[in-house]
Symmetry: C2
Subunit: 381 residues, 2 copies
């Protein structure tokens, strides 16, 4: 392994409070503070907002979906238009998933080598292997790419999860080997070339399988480590033990990413266990369904009782970019189907969640994370 | 009539070139340069953008639809939330139509007193009279309101248009009388109260009826004058004579507004005839259908040939707020149904049309309007 493996992205833990970590993560493109929330831009766009809006909101990193982008518009087209950064004119960080999560929800044909699946766009047949997942994400140009893993839809019987863990381990080795070889080639042509690859720990709710998967992934050695296959329907209590089993053995000097988690209670619990990075459609999807995030919990702004409300979406968050509009106005926009409603709520919810992350980080630095956690759980738990 | 009638809005012609006028229009709330284009915010929102966006774009005045707003959310609700300005947090000018245009497209029951129609939202029955149109618009709080006119869907037989002109004249008198009485009352309570009311000239394509309608409207006396019932399907050549017949007798010291016109060729032709104000859904509706306005005409950005284009939407308009995104990116957003496409195109098309208006005004001031007109007609005629 080259020395670069432990350097990209740069990562430093600046403060800890119990298991919670406040850190920094960077590449030469952009740096950010952790814990960090990554908005989901499935198709190279966070729905209803633009890259200009995301800059104004202070977003540092967004997530793109390899499954969607490889099918529409295709990774080669994106590569030809400057990669995902040039294509969407977003010049902070981008993380792409491997496509595995979507593919495994489509009942693919899986063998030891890879998975064959049909496009939801036109029914055409496609194949994803650990090597191809690397190449697609290199073409997309994401700063951080994810290794292809096997994520059976849960709940699943133990032997299915066991097989998934074993295959995830084999694919991790192949994916990592291919990535390192390709990175070396590309870095020879361009000394400034910086790309990272994260491994993924699977294992369902089984502590033994979780530990086994974590150990295998660490043994392969990645630039960061993700926890996959949690927050897929289990209770928060059920999530706690398998999450803790993994974070207690992940290397402390590398970033840890909980895939698909983004609600405030889930975030504080995972931060308590030592997680640094999060992504979820939660805040943006809620926005499109008329829900505002507030210090007092969710507000269904479309409800008739807000028709005459002159309050902003969250009176306790005066920094919201949406505060100039009242609940009454947004309720009107929702009730007549005006697209500005989804935009205003998306701007608000993302700003609100970024603010939560910032306050959470300050709480860690100031050694009062437990108080902050209790406060968040009292509203969102 | 009080002295205020000729003062609100303030209006001054600063330069003329042939029939074309470059002027200024103002109230104490906001001032603007004419010729001016007013984006249409039917339901107190210009689709896909917010009042913050409209400020950034440099919009000076937007149009609201009385028909829609009286039904959803209702003028009393809007009045309770600060009027249309407070409600939508837009603090430049607002012009509202009278509701007549929409009502007459719904096959209403019309008698001498007013029109009874059914709501497209819930089928409920509503009535609009000249007096009620004034009161609704006063409650909405628009800076400029329109008198209720009779606008039969065209083409229509001569006797239908003749009856419409006669009734429009009677309603103008009633509407104006009611407006002046109400304005006097309201100005007694609030010395800073500023509201204007424009009359509307009807008459189809018949020159005699157009002149008769213009004379009757002028005789009643309004704060500005609108040309209604044109740009409803006739050719640009057919429009020329009735438009000229009206503008040549309208008072030169008051603003002139062509209702429902917004394409570049139509605008330059109407400006040539002495019109100062325009509104149309044209640029924003085209945007939502994937069309960008450019110096070379319309571009259907969703077309496959733009899939790999790195050009901005209009390479000849580097000031576009959408220039950071390529045609290829916007084409992708359109092809996968991402809402950011409509937003990016709406921002571009409005900025493009505002730029056209600004260039048009400079051409008038610099006495080269005919060249500018020929240039626009060569592309858009």
């Amino acid at each position: 392994m080259s020395a670069a493996v432990s350097d990209i992205p740069g990562f430093e833990v600046e403060a800890t409070d119990g298991g919670a970590r406040a850190g920094r993560l960077w590449t030469s493109r952009h740096g950010l503070e952790t814990p960090v929330f990554m908005p989901v831009g499935t198709r190279a766009s966070v729905r209803t907002v633009t890259s200009a809006d995301l800059e104004s909101l202070g977003a540092d990193i967004i997530l793109g979906n390899t499954y969607h982008l490889m099918l529409r518009p295709g990774e080669e087209l994106i590569a030809g238009l400057g990669g995902i950064h040039g294509f969407s004119d977003w010049h902070r960080l981008v993380l792409t998933d491997s496509g595995g999560y979507q593919v495994f929800s489509l009942e693919p044909k899986v063998d030891d080598d890879g998975a064959t699946f049909r496009s939801t766009y036109d029914g055409s047949s496609h194949r994803l292997t650990p090597e191809r997942a690397v190449d697609i994400q290199l073409a997309l140009g994401s700063d951080i790419q994810m290794v292809l893993d096997v994520c059976p839809p849960l709940p699943a019987p133990a032997h299915v999860i066991g097989t998934a863990v074993a295959r995830t381990g084999q694919w991790a080795q192949r994916g990592r080997g291919h990535f390192l070889a390709r990175r070396e080639q590309l870095a020879e042509a361009d000394a400034g070339f910086e790309r990272a690859q994260f491994g993924i720990v699977q294992g369902g709710l089984d502590l033994g399988l979780r530990r086994e998967s974590a150990e295998r992934t660490i043994e392969v050695g990645f630039d960061g480590y993700a926890i996959g296959g949690l927050s897929v329907g289990e209770t928060r209590a059920e999530m706690e033990a398998p999450l803790g089993a993994v974070t207690e053995i992940l290397p402390a000097d590398r970033p840890r990413y909980f895939m698909g988690l983004g609600d405030p209670a889930g975030i504080v619990e995972a931060v308590a266990a030592g997680v640094d990075m999060f992504d979820c459609v939660w805040p943006t999807r809620l926005a499109r369904h008329g829900t505002a995030l507030t210090r007092n919990g969710r507000v269904n702004v479309g409800a008739a009782r807000y028709a005459r409300s002159d309050d902003p979406l969250d009176p306790d968050f005066p920094e919201s970019p949406a505060n100039r509009w009242s609940r009454g106005y947004v309720r009107h926009l929702l009730s007549v189907g005006e697209p500005a409603a989804a935009r205003i709520l998306t701007l608000h919810n993302l700003a609100w969640l970024f603010d939560l992350m910032a306050r959470l980080r300050v709480a860690i630095v100031e050694q009062r994370f437990e108080d902050f956690r209790s406060e968040v759980l009292a509203t969102w738990g």
